[in-house]
Symmetry: C2
Subunit: 333 residues, 2 copies
């Protein structure tokens, strides 16, 4: 399962705009950010390819096209959400102590914690500046609202780690903040900058939010059943640090014998062994939480597609948006 060609194509448009924004940072910061974005190696030498999936910028440009504007009109929105996404990755890696991302050392592991904190701060500020340059106050408001939800989601995520139990609904709300809010914002900004009316902006926002929830639930599943060679993440990393993602919350609250056994593993304070994490993954599956989560992801995706009815995008753009939803649930990385 590869990215829809429309998504890959938007990268060609977004990359130069993103680079233009990053080039305004001072040289020391630019070096760190370029490494983080996968543009350069640790010595500052250019790297071919690299970078993440760039789903959020693609969503912004497609949303502009959905309201029948040229994709270029939404570039500032695409750049802003990608910067915010990377701000959150930089700080997340420090908070989680993760030493690898996309098969490379994380920024804090390579350049130190202060560098990673400051680079995150710089990207958040740069995102706000990029939208200020559009002259559209409402664009900034969509962004800060999403960043606020993002921070709330991350706060809840970390809070969950020290709690014995977490409800399924509050866990879904956490993931709405951590992931779906910025996806919604990407689509909202694209539609807004593309000149869409309020109803279209709201409908595309719903598309982005539901797509984001589907994306995050699949991410949770890959953290339990994914192959590390494919995902680039350490095997069962989420279970190892006792993260309470949605499938785990569903499993813990399932009232089954496996749930009780899983609660025991989650109650312990010591680092789980390799055998432990494999057992934990099996217990999650036993409760039916994997199937539940997969089903729920498909429902979010169906909801995303349904929200397009209020927009009436050109047929090729509708097809690209639908492709995107399919990619999100069927991906293996």
């Amino acid at each position: 399962m590869t990215l829809p060609s429309e998504v890959s194509a938007t990268r060609l448009l977004v990359r130069p705009a993103l680079r233009e924004a990053v080039d305004t940072l001072d040289p020391a910061m630019r070096r760190i950010v370029s490494y983080h974005l996968g543009w350069t190696d640790e010595h500052g030498a250019a790297v071919e390819g690299g970078g993440g999936k760039a789903l959020r910028p693609a969503l912004a440009l497609l949303a502009a096209q959905a309201v029948r504007a040229r994709p270029e009109t939404a570039l500032a929105g695409a750049v802003a959400v990608e910067l915010v996404h990377n701000f959150s990755l930089l700080h997340d890696d420090v908070m989680d102590g993760d030493t690898e991302r996309r098969h490379r050392p994380t920024v804090w592991a390579l350049f130190g914690t202060p560098a990673a904190i400051l680079a995150g701060d710089a990207l958040l500020t740069l995102a706000v500046e990029v939208l200020e340059a559009t002259g559209l106050l409402s664009a900034g408001r969509y962004l800060t609202r999403a960043v606020r939800r993002l921070i709330e989601g991350q706060t809840a995520d970390i809070d969950f780690e020290r709690r014995a139990l977490v409800g399924v609904e509050e866990c879904l709300h956490m993931e709405d903040g951590k992931t779906a809010a910025l996806m919604a914002c990407a689509a909202e900004l694209g539609a807004l900058l593309g000149g869409g009316d309020d109803a279209s902006v709201a409908a595309l926002g719903r598309f982005g939010r539901n797509l984001g929830m589907g994306f995050q639930l699949v991410d949770d599943l890959l953290g339990i059943v994914g192959s590390p060679e494919v995902t680039g993440k350490p095997v069962l990393a989420d279970l190892r640090v006792r993260k309470k993602s949605v499938p785990v919350a569903v499993a813990l609250n399932s009232g089954t014998d496996s749930a009780l056994a899983l609660r025991e593993f989650y109650r312990r304070e010591d680092a789980p062994s390799e055998d432990d994490v494999r057992t934990m993954a099996a217990l999650v599956d036993d409760t039916g939480a994997i199937a539940w989560t997969r089903d729920r992801a498909h429902r979010y995706i169906a909801e995303a597609e349904a929200s397009l009815a209020a927009v009436d995008p050109p047929s090729d753009i509708r097809a690209a948006l639908v492709d995107l939803t399919r990619f999100v649930v069927e991906r293996d990385r």
Copy 2:
């Protein structure tokens, strides 16, 4: 030496507005921020007094009054700069590993590093939101420009720690970013929100920038010659971690025998002993760097006062602004 009464008075005005902004954060975050701001203790119980000097908000309100507006007109600016200041304190304490601030445990020391990083992120975002609510796009631009300089200054500050030598000019530029840029912004926002014309906004910005430089140089001096009982900071903390503040840069570049001896101390990698840091402080003084820095601080302050000529504030407001400059250079904490 106590704060001018006009500064203390502005706190009464700013505190409710600041609290109103902080109250929009989710409960978990609000608890951490309230502790950081000195409003509550670690259990969430209200604390009398507390909080910092609130110089930046005072500057914003005085700048509005300097252009003959009521201080209330500048409240959003006052709140925004205080939020940004506290964003930077929260992240600085993590980056520097400081466990105490204002005689209390720092947020990361008490609630963990993730909480401190997220609280900083939340305050930065909240500051942008507070200015978005004014409906004035240019207000946001003044703020993000200052935050960008603030991050550049902190990046340079950390970069300096791993370098053997730092020039005096680049060190002054670092402190302009780390401290003066936000002071300039406080005055600019006050004047802007107070309806001042471009010339007044610029002149009050120069006042804030020069006041900020004077403030920071005195801070550097207190980090070398200040009494820890009064400043609330560990004795000679800056020298202990080999920070290259302006007096240290001046001393290292003085071409004296003491400079050579000081360079040796700065070249070593081990933690300096108590005797070492006392010797380092004496060496800085021997080079004449303390006197040089004190003189330079007075020149910035004179420059700040001179910039008021282009504004023509009401006489009581001029007097309060001048009082503020005197406080900044004569304070002992």
